[in-house]
């Protein structure tokens, strides 16, 4: 029997190949001079972000296969890695990023790759919707049975209908959260899908001057058995 071909996965692969080539071409550029080196860096960064988004889309399609293993994950380490990757993007766009860790570095049960994408998408969303010169905030704090990762931005307020959608804890499709000008809501849709897979709770808080998006990830009991 012929296996059904998943169109999204095929498209993802077809998109990824030229993006990877573009990235390599940018990396191949030598002798640009200090003045133009940042152009190459930007090309690489843009390609990498596009590749990540395509990869995330492909992962969304694969979630139902249950291939993403859940394991003990150190949230702070993941946050540090995401920040490291995105620091350049924030700097280039003249936005700041402040970090506040108030948890005891507890370990959660998650899939590292998916959690990385959730935090990554929250931060890119924050960068996109923050006004120039403002500082977004990444906070990690303990709650009773979970660790909460929250990203606060300073941009347009979140429309009430979108906030309600987030409050339900799940976003059904990207267009449902075309929440602020210029947004398809894809990043938050991906974050929502990945969070649900990990039995984590996503939500949003409305502020007059922006929004906070959070994910609450269940703590790992594995180490407490030792």
């Amino acid at each position: 029997m012929m296996q059904e071909v998943d169109g999204v996965l095929v498209v993802a692969h077809e998109l990824k190949a030229p993006l990877a080539v573009l990235r390599q071409l940018a990396l191949s550029l030598d002798d640009l001079g200090a003045k133009n080196e940042h152009l190459r860096d930007e090309m690489v960064q843009v390609s990498e972000r596009a590749i990540r988004q395509v990869n995330d889309l492909a992962k969304v399609r694969r979630l139902e296969d249950g291939l993403f293993e859940m394991e003990p994950v150190a949230v702070r380490v993941v946050c540090d890695d995401v920040m490291q990757e995105l620091r350049y993007l924030f700097r280039e766009n003249k936005r700041g990023l402040r970090v506040k860790y108030t948890n005891k570095a507890r370990v959660v049960t998650a899939n590292r790759e998916l959690l990385y994408s959730v935090i990554y998408n929250f931060l890119v969303n924050a960068m996109h919707y923050s006004a120039e010169g403002t500082q977004s905030e990444l906070a990690v704090q303990d709650e009773r049975e979970c660790v909460k990762v929250m990203v606060r931005d300073y941009g347009p307020a979140l429309p009430v209908n979108i906030w309600r959608e987030m409050k339900k804890g799940f976003i059904k499709e990207p267009t449902a959260i075309a929440m602020r000008p210029g947004s398809s809501g894809l990043g938050l849709y991906i974050a929502s899908k990945f969070s649900r897979y990990m039995h984590a709770e996503v939500g949003a808080v409305r502020h007059r001057d922006g929004a906070s998006f959070y994910v609450k990830i269940p703590i790992s009991r594995q180490l407490s058995l030792l």
Binding site: H13, A17, A20, V21, R23, Q24, L27, E48, I51, N55
Partner: protein, 117 residues
């Protein structure tokens, strides 16, 4: 001599640029031509191999290579967007795996310097 087997010509050229010494490089856009070349006695010191190729894929190529004593010794670096660990492919002579999404030219060069000086 280094073989680059990739059906994406531009990606193959990027790999070639990273290696640096273009005179030492042969390009193949499919596995069959590369296998025929090796069968005719041209033994590369290193092979950069894409997995998803037109016609027989990279795994078929690896399987063929490992089937003969002399070709089984040729180090292969897999360059692919697919995720897999090098542990699974060591038995096929794979000495490294580079992810097309994240690899850097210096990593390609390091393999070339290590195996094909």
């Amino acid at each position: 001599m280094i073989f680059i087997i990739d059906d994406d010509k531009i990606m193959a050229e990027c790999v070639s640029r990273a290696v640096g010494d273009v005179d030492k490089i042969r390009f193949f856009d499919n596995a069959i031509e590369a296998m025929n070349e090796i069968a005719s006695g041209v033994m590369p010191k290193l092979i950069f191999l894409d997995i998803l190729l037109n016609g027989p894929d990279g795994f078929t190529f690896l399987n063929e290579m490992v089937s003969y004593k002399d070709t089984a010794q040729i180090p292969v670096v897999v360059i692919s967007s697919l995720d897999f660990g090098v542990d699974n492919l060591e038995m096929y002579g794979v000495v490294g795996i580079l992810n097309k999404d994240t690899m850097l030219p210096k990593e390609i060069k390091e393999y070339a310097q290590k195996y094909a000086k």
